[in-house]
Symmetry: C2
């Protein structure tokens, strides 16, 4: 069975998955980029984000790499796709990632506002889903053709999927930074009551990696 997975999602020591006040200059909210030092160190992210041959191997790389393994489709919340809120004023916003986004496959963007699919270079197509999370998951599962679906975030979308017990597995990284404000990943989500347990843990100098699995 195709799984729904969260991968490489990073929170701060005080529990925030993004900083406050996301805008075009702060895609991860103010201070949010400091969460991702571990990811930026890895071969996988260096290659996928920057086309670079840099980055290092190790525990962080192992977790970064597993996040791209056996993924057939992605689901993103609209705020992960961009800073535009409300009705789409036009078709000009095409994501944070340039002409050739990191996804290289079908991406289902949850939004309340319809928009035509957006075909990018490198195999990425953004589909805009207005029917809610269950429909988005059905579309993504079909598009994934037996592979897993990766749920990219953000926080609010992950919480919605968790509360319906739709996520099979989450890899969460805890970075040694404090954000103080923003969106707290586990606010209003009682993980043990929903059937989740911590089933794996490894630590690098830059992050503590944990795997939470639905039992």
């Amino acid at each position: 069975m195709s799984k729904l997975r969260v991968e490489s999602f990073t929170i701060s020591l005080d529990g925030f998955g993004a900083g406050p006040d996301q805008d075009i200059d702060n895609p991860l909210g103010v201070g949010g980029t400091s969460l991702h030092a571990w990811a930026m160190s890895t071969r996988t992210f260096q290659k996928n984000l920057f086309g670079s041959d840099g980055g290092v191997a190790g525990i962080d790389e192992d977790f970064a790499a597993r996040g791209f393994r056996n993924i057939g489709a992605w689901i993103l919340g609209r705020n992960m796709f961009g800073p535009v809120r409300g009705l789409w004023p036009d078709e000009s916003w095409r994501g944070w990632w340039g002409d050739n986004p990191v996804y290289h496959g079908p991406v289902f963007v949850l939004t309340n506002y319809a928009r035509a699919p957006l075909v990018m270079e490198g195999g990425t197509t953004f589909h805009f889903v207005t029917e809610g999370i269950v429909a988005a998951l059905a579309h993504a599962r079909e598009a994934a053709e037996g592979k897993d679906v990766r749920l990219g975030g953000g926080v609010n979308i992950i919480q919605q999927f968790l509360r319906q017990r739709l996520i099979d597995e989450m890899h969460i990284a805890i970075a040694p930074v404090l954000l103080g404000a923003g969106e707290r990943l586990f606010d209003g989500v009682n993980l043990p009551a929903l059937g989740y347990a911590c089933t794996g843990r490894e630590s690098s100098p830059l992050a503590t990696h944990v795997v939470l699995t639905r039992q």
Copy 2:
């Protein structure tokens, strides 16, 4: 200058410093004891809690041991002292720790209800302070005679001290467990805005240890 320190305070992956529903059978709330596997493994806790020569050395032990170094007095919230709420019905509750508590020095218990000091074996005396956290700190500093003061908790008391920037340093351990409910240590506390930063981090197989310091 004598510091106010929090030491060996453990939170879950989802941020809780104690489980829900504390009572006489669950001094740390339901599920709360699962937080402390790292501490229970250490020589320091084996010796101080059980008079045992067991326990192991290593990163966990290093953090456990530093928590007892140069401590001249303690401050505890009333719920850490016991499960009794409201007026003291009598003098029969003498703490969770038996006749010879782990503190071996003056302990200032914050409460709204006056009670005579309680002299225990091994050098521990519980003083009950009804004048609030600033007064408790002044009493503890005086009693500590130049040594540091350790703030034991619980969550609510730590939050009160943090909001007034009275804590100099906190050692927090993050255990690989989920509690789902209880008291979240950093709820309503914006650490960076209060001037705190993560200044140290080490990880053992049982916990991630971080040090937060007021800048």
